[in-house]
Point group: C2
Chain length 305, copies 2
Amino acid sequence: MKFNSFAELIDMVKGQSNRVVVPGANNTEALTAIKMADDKGLISGGVLIGPVELVKKMMAEIGLAQDKFEFIQCEDVPTMCNLAVEQIVKGKGDFLVKGLVDTKYYMKAILNKEMGLVPQGALLTHFVLFKTDNYHKMFAVTDSAVLISPTLEQKAQAINNAVKILRKLGIEKPKVAVVCPVEKVNEKIPSTVEAQELVKMNQEGKIKDCIVEGPYDLYITFSKERAAEKGIKGAQVAGDADLILLPDLDAANPLYKALAFFGKGTEAATILAGPNIPVILPSRADHPMVKLNAIALCSYLKDQK
Amino acid sequence: MKFNSFAELIDMVKGQSNRVVVPGANNTEALTAIKMADDKGLISGGVLIGPVELVKKMMAEIGLAQDKFEFIQCEDVPTMCNLAVEQIVKGKGDFLVKGLVDTKYYMKAILNKEMGLVPQGALLTHFVLFKTDNYHKMFAVTDSAVLISPTLEQKAQAINNAVKILRKLGIEKPKVAVVCPVEKVNEKIPSTVEAQELVKMNQEGKIKDCIVEGPYDLYITFSKERAAEKGIKGAQVAGDADLILLPDLDAANPLYKALAFFGKGTEAATILAGPNIPVILPSRADHPMVKLNAIALCSYLKDQK
């Protein structure tokens, strides 16, 4: 990876003239993150969509200067989302930051085929990049927010989506662990059977540009020592994973939040994987730093082809 | 709770004359944990079952004195497990410590009705007690190791099993959070529907001696501040949970291991909930400290009715 912490990433993208587009800009959390990004020199302006008078009042309250931004008056949430995507298509902005809009309208506007933000047949998935004190490098988790009960095919697509991002971040061949409760394939635990299938799809070239291993439990995934204790030999991913795929939303969401909440020295950035342009998809309760990190990550990604 | 850290717990149970019974004592990890427990004055001896010559050799290697222990020669794993349960029934020991035996034989021997270690109709479940720097008190997680896809009824039993233990630890009315990806009931996410059902069962008195709330995401579960941000009002469990129930093994196992591996200042103890006597059920790759903590927890529990 081209950077080893969010602080490094922020330093790398400083001074870029990125323009954000925000549907539902009447949102203190989003505006606070934009203020932080502006203070750090990560953005040069953008388009704020929502009830303009209220947006301007909120900006004044948090001390975010108005002169860098364009404003579009809109009170209807689905329309805000459509207008935001239109602004990106018109080249008025570099990436989307979700404000006070429902995720379903936000995703629907992004998925609108006429707009071309999403490649044919693409699936949108959730991608979190983590930094913690207890692992030797940054790593990603998918899918903690979008897919509820992914099929095997959707799991493969979630890996592909994440691998594309990790390659843009400088990891030529990302190491992918399919995380399960146990490291042995057990027909009573369907996630382990699917893990085996995903490994096979990788070996057959159906999941490309990465190395997929599993099923692994979480210890094997993150610790070479634990992997050795469990008799895992000759593995490339065990103890050195760049990406972990969890079985479903029930598993991935609490894990993501546990890492963010309990992890030692943990920082995160959450984005949407799949679209042609970077899209920030924060959870409402995420720390403002998570949103700032996501803006930095999007700034970096927009210049990588 | 009567203690706020494992160090405190260990101090409380020091000097008790507990006797451990270990099927598959030919296991360095188990013997090391017993050595640590012996050094701290937590045990007075016990019964070690397995290939005796090898067990004695391993004890010599790690410096564990042999004179406090009785030995039973046995080479067959299912028999070792049955003999261990028999020793408990005969009053030769206070609790079981799993050595080098398969979990399925260990559980099968414990479940043997003729032995009476398990009440009629009981379900065995996994119970982990955690201490971390990022939460104001100790808390428990269930079920990270036994139930694969628990039914609603099994989830209720898992809560009951855990509540019984927490009450023995001094929490009169444990606060139980049913953890899901989101805090809203959504028919597309079955775990949220079951969470609602469990809350209802608690209100109707079918799940007793505790307060059940949910569905909650992990942030709401552990942070009053996040709960307030999400508009959760008048809740007793939000931000103050003593126990969390996860949707299934796919969710609970990685969460448990993530807390143990990534958590700031995290310590754990894992036991089996449901039997009439304390039973230690470690994961093979758990840190020896986890096993020591479990021995201390069992020492404490054996004297609580």
